[in-house]
């Protein structure tokens, strides 16, 4: 997809050890992706308080992505498992509140998966754009 999608705001929460490093790797490999995502570094997806995501939507974010280490690879052993359990609950809850499911995403991106991070962002941006354009 085209990397230029104006007026679309996506907040990304990336864990420090895998996905943030993976996003750094995307840069090192000069892979491009749409610039709508603004990344917030967190130590671990286990630190994700659902309030942060709700607050992002509340403030007008069009989309939210949370990305962490692959299951089994968490720097802190099990933080991503907590997130993995929280995510589907929060997703269905948000849907219930009227937040379209195309707006909220989670992914696993490791520190070496620079290309994958670019793909994830492209896919997330496309879905959020689809929601905005087609309802």
């Amino acid at each position: 997809m085209d990397n230029k999608v104006p007026q679309l705001n996506i907040v990304g929460f990336l864990c420090n050890w895998c996905s943030y490093a993976g996003a750094d790797m995307t840069g090192l490999g000069r892979n491009t992706y749409p610039s709508n995502i603004k990344v917030i570094r967190i130590p671990c997806t286990g630190r994700m308080d659902p309030m942060m995501i709700i607050e992002a939507f509340h403030n007008g974010a069009d989309g939210v992505l949370v990305s962490g280490c692959h299951p089994g690879d968490c720097h802190y052993t099990e933080g991503n498992y907590y997130w993995r359990r929280r995510y589907p609950h929060l997703k269905s809850l948000l849907e219930h509140f009227g937040i379209d499911k195309r707006r909220f995403h989670a992914s696993w991106v490791s520190a070496s998966e620079g290309k994958k991070f670019a793909e994830v962002v492209k896919k997330v941006t496309a879905e959020v754009k689809d929601w905005r354009d087609n309802g």
Binding site: I40, G46, E55
Partner: protein, 662 residues
């Protein structure tokens, strides 16, 4: 009121080539609390850091935002800068406008600039809420664990021990020595591998600071730098410490079922065995899957012939748990298995062998005592075809990387063949010759010019068996001709791949691996032996394919890192940990249950005068700052320093607000 300074880095043209850095700085200057905003070519350089220090003094700043590269790269640098100017190092935030903006949004400079402004603004929002934190210290267990007893592990252990620290060297196999012990000679000097390796093996065994633990595996790891707690499984050797290594048991053992791993399955080995005669320690082990006694309940010949009564069939696997301050991972590699190369016979043609098998064939300690004969019918060979890049530089086999040593070892093997049998002819099919290294190119030239090895640039399309010969069909792309060679033996230059089980092993330490399974170093250039896990270092081919000199250099580098760590009295640790507000804590114990480090203690405590309640408390020296407790707390009583709820929410708020740039 906060007094913030914003420093925008050009990173040469890395950032400034895409992002309008002056506009970012100008926008920063308009934000509340920002007293000064400047841009500079290289913020991390000496003059760059001095710019920051001067600004701190001139404007009385109390917190900084550096808009530059990834905080994973230079956060520590700028924290030290702040410290030098008298600001608390934790009052520094970075906005990553290189890896997350300039390098990934180079296709639209306007959007990139807007995003850079936004990320900077988010960092400003976060730093406004930063608090001064004081450094914390933790004790260091000054004892190192080296995992893997190949040349990398041996070298690392010797160097650490040489500095006066205790080392435990753990090896999975019954003997240390690793892959290097399997080699006949080494390039580019053609000196014998055993002659340079075995003295080191002996030195490791005799060093009073090194404890050898062979036939043992690491099964569990917890803790962190300075305080790793490691569970090690000592596999049952079925031979106890009375063994004097006389070898009678091995000679008399009637079982010949198992194939020798050391000889790359070219020869059988006994059920009670040492992998090779120069094994260290020279103590045999019983392979229970092959031993007649363990399979049928009868035999016990080894017990009968043992002069010291060292055979113990009742031995069990034993687990030990020990503490270490640092770990060197040197777990090595496996040879690529060519059974999915149809053109080379799916690994089913007996006389198509791997390079490592050739090493065993030509080695005087090998199964044929150094005679290069065909595995199928033991005839001597005349024509030998070497094929390069098997499982290397092959996108179709998901092995696009170069294994780095195959060009060299093929040249070496072709020369050794000619040395042993002057009447033979060696042919080498290659893609490119990669001979970067001291005296390497000269070595390959010697193979061609002095030894008459015939190099053919091209790939082999098929190997047939015909009339006791192997017909090798390929192309010589330089002459444009199709080539057909009648060979007696085909030697494949199998590349390197990660050790089987490398991924599971990485998970023990939570190390990350690359897409193939080789372990990731912390930084490809500036931290090549560190990993993302503080206190865990990598050496040798578990990180990427490399030759012996590079492996030894890397091993010594890990030793230097371990020694530098151990030379400190106490370990400085990040104070980015959780803290409980006991006034709002409801004592529900959720945090206590989710903490992966058992860093939360529940206490009955007088939180207000006259009010004793059941509340959580963080054990500061144990907490690693993952924030699992923060995410789980129902009453918002736990918070994480450096990533507080308030900070993250302010970042969220800023991220979603429009840019007010005129």
């Amino acid at each position: 009121m906060a007094r913030i300074g914003v420093f925008v880095c050009h990173c040469g043209t890395n950032i400034a080539g895409v992002v309008d850095v002056t506009r970012v700085a100008k926008y920063a200057g308009s934000l509340p609390g920002v007293k000064v905003a400047v841009d500079y070519k290289f913020m991390c350089s000496d003059p760059g850091q001095n710019t920051i220090i001067d600004a701190i003094k001139k404007y009385g700043l109390d917190r900084l935002v550096v808009s530059a590269c990834s905080p994973r790269m230079h956060e520590a640098t700028f924290r030290r800068t702040a410290e030098r100017a008298g600001i608390n190092p934790y009052m520094v935030e970075m906005a990553n406008i290189r890896e997350h903006v300039a390098w990934v949004h180079s296709d639209d400079k306007e959007l990139a600039t807007q995003k850079a402004m936004k990320l900077m603004e988010m960092a400003v929002a976060k730093v406004r809420r930063s608090e001064a934190l004081s450094k914390m210290f933790a004790p260091i267990e000054k004892r190192a664990l080296v995992i893997g007893g190949g040349i990398a592990g041996i070298q690392a252990a010797l160097d650490i021990a040489g500095a006066g620290y205790k080392v435990l060297l753990v090896e999975k196999e019954p003997s240390i020595g690793g892959r290097m012990a399997q080699l006949d000679k080494t390039f580019p000097t053609l000196d014998c591998s055993a002659c340079i390796l075995t003295p080191k093996m002996v030195a490791a065994a005799q060093d009073p600071n090194i404890t050898l633990l062979t036939y043992a595996e690491v099964t569990e790891v917890c803790g962190f730098v300075g305080q790793f707690e490691v569970k090690i499984k000592k596999k049952a050797k079925s031979v106890n410490s009375k063994c004097i290594g006389c070898g009678v048991c091995t000679t008399k053992c009637p079982s010949k079922k198992a194939l020798s791993e050391f000889d790359e399955k070219l020869a059988p080995r006994k059920a009670i065995y040492t992998p090779f005669p120069q094994a260290v320690p020279n103590v045999p082990v019983i392979d229970r899957t092959a031993c007649t006694f363990f399979l049928t309940g009868k035999c016990k010949i080894c017990e009968k012939v043992c002069p010291t009564g060292a055979i113990d069939y009742t031995q069990q696997d034993e687990f030990i748990k020990e503490k270490f301050g640092a770990v060197v991972v040197a777990t090595g590699f496996d040879i690529y298995d060519h059974s999915n190369y149809g053109e080379y016979g799916y690994g089913e043609i007996k006389d198509v062998i791997t390079g490592l098998q050739f090493e065993r064939l030509i080695s005087s300690t090998g199964p044929t005592a150094g005679h290069v004969t065909r595995p199928s019918d033991h005839r001597e060979v005349k024509n030998v075809v070497f094929i390069q890049c098997v499982g290397s530089r092959d996108e179709a086999k998901k092995r696009p990387y170069c294994s780095r040593v195959c060009c060299m070892y093929t040249a070496k093997q072709a020369m050794l063949l000619k040395d042993h049998y002057p009447e033979t002819q060696a042919y080498v099919f290659y893609i490119d010759i990669r001979s970067a290294g001291k005296n390497y190119e000269e070595f390959v030239q010697r193979a061609q010019n002095e030894y008459g090895v015939l190099y053919l640039r091209g790939r082999v399309s098929k190997i047939y068996e015909r009339a006791n010969k192997l017909l090798v069909k390929g192309a010589d792309t330089l002459s444009g001709a199709q080539v057909e060679i009648e060979a007696d033996l085909v030697v494949l230059a199998n590349g390197f791949e990660p050790k089987k089980g490398a991924k599971e092993f990485a998970q023990l330490f939570h190390m990350s691996s690359d897409q193939y399974g080789f372990y990731n170093e912390l930084h490809p250039k500036l931290a090549p032996v560190e990993t993302a896990i503080s206190g865990v270092f990598v050496a040798g081919c578990c990180q990427s394919p490399k030759d012996i000199p590079d492996t030894v250099a890397m091993a010594s580098a890990t030793a230097a890192k371990v020694c530098a760590l151990f030379a400190k009295e106490k370990l400085e640790v990040e104070p980015l940990i959780a803290g409980v507000n006991q006034l709002t804590c409801s004592g529900c114990e959720t945090c206590y249950n989710v903490c992966p480090y058992s860093a939360i203690e529940m206490k009955d405590k007088e939180v207000k005068r006259g009010e004793v309640r059941h509340v959580a408390e963080v054990l500061e020296s144990v907490c690693k700052g993952c924030g699992a407790c923060v995410g789980a707390c129902y009453s918002k009583a736990v918070d994480l320093k450096g990533f507080t709820d308030r900070q993250v929410l302010d970042q969220v708020e800023t991220a979603t607000a429009p840019i007010t740039d005129n």
